[in-house]
């Protein structure tokens, strides 16, 4: 089974990049990929609590993230330093694990395919 890592570095509502990445991740999982997600830098804003995509007639990204385990995507990671720099606290039931740089390094090296957000 191929191990995929999707690295999300964009904020939730500045573009549609994150939603597209997550949809791609779901497709990879549907085709039996072993999928992990890493949120880094502005990507951690996707975990911000009290989001309401409704205000922009968009999907709420935190809700999309909360749905990932039902697509069998349950290796969910977030960069601890990026969280700390932005003072974002995460909703524990989203299931994201805060990881340091060495853990992120290992995550990359242990993946077969790494997909970052493209502009």
């Amino acid at each position: 089974m191929k191990r995929y890592l999707f690295i999300v570095s964009r904020s939730p509502y500045g573009s549609s990049v994150v939603l597209e990445q997550l949809e791609t991740a779901m497709v990879a999982a549907a085709f039996d990929g072993d999928v992990a997600i890493l949120l880094r830098d502005d990507g951690v804003w996707n975990l911000q609590q009290h989001q309401s995509g409704d205000a922009l007639e968009r999907q709420t990204l935190a809700k999309v993230l909360s749905g990932l385990p039902s697509y069998e995507i349950d290796r969910l990671y977030v960069c601890a330093s990026s969280l700390q720099m932005r003072n974002v606290t995460i909703d524990q039931h989203l299931g994201f694990e805060a990881v340091d740089y060495p853990a992120q390094q290992a995550l990359i090296r242990n993946s077969d395919v790494v997909i970052g957000g493209q502009p």
Partner: protein, 91 residues
């Protein structure tokens, strides 16, 4: 061993925090400007590569490049063949 494709200076910044010391970094596009940061950080030149056409187009001098080797497009392809995974860094 991973190959990191760095497309700009911010990309190098993000990459350096998360790459293994043995990994190779290929700087291309505006990433070729990041060779200056590479030297400032005193990183080993043998772990970096510059895409020749992008460096030449932007006027990166031999002094700026230092001991970092350049590769042409065939060299880029060769690197992608022997490394896994390949990670792109644009921000």
């Amino acid at each position: 061993m991973s190959l990191h494709l760095v497309f700009n200076e911010q990309g190098l910044h993000s990459c350096l925090k998360r790459k293994h010391p043995d990994d190779i970094v290929l700087m291309l596009d505006d990433g070729v400007y990041a060779c200056l940061q590479w030297h400032q950080a005193r990183l080993p030149s043998d772990k970096a590569r510059l895409l020749r056409a992008d460096a030449k187009a932007r006027g990166i001098s031999d002094a700026q490049r230092g001991a970092i080797e350049t590769v042409d497009y065939d060299g880029l392809v060769a690197l992608t063949e022997v490394h896994s995974p390949i990670v792109s860094w644009k921000d």
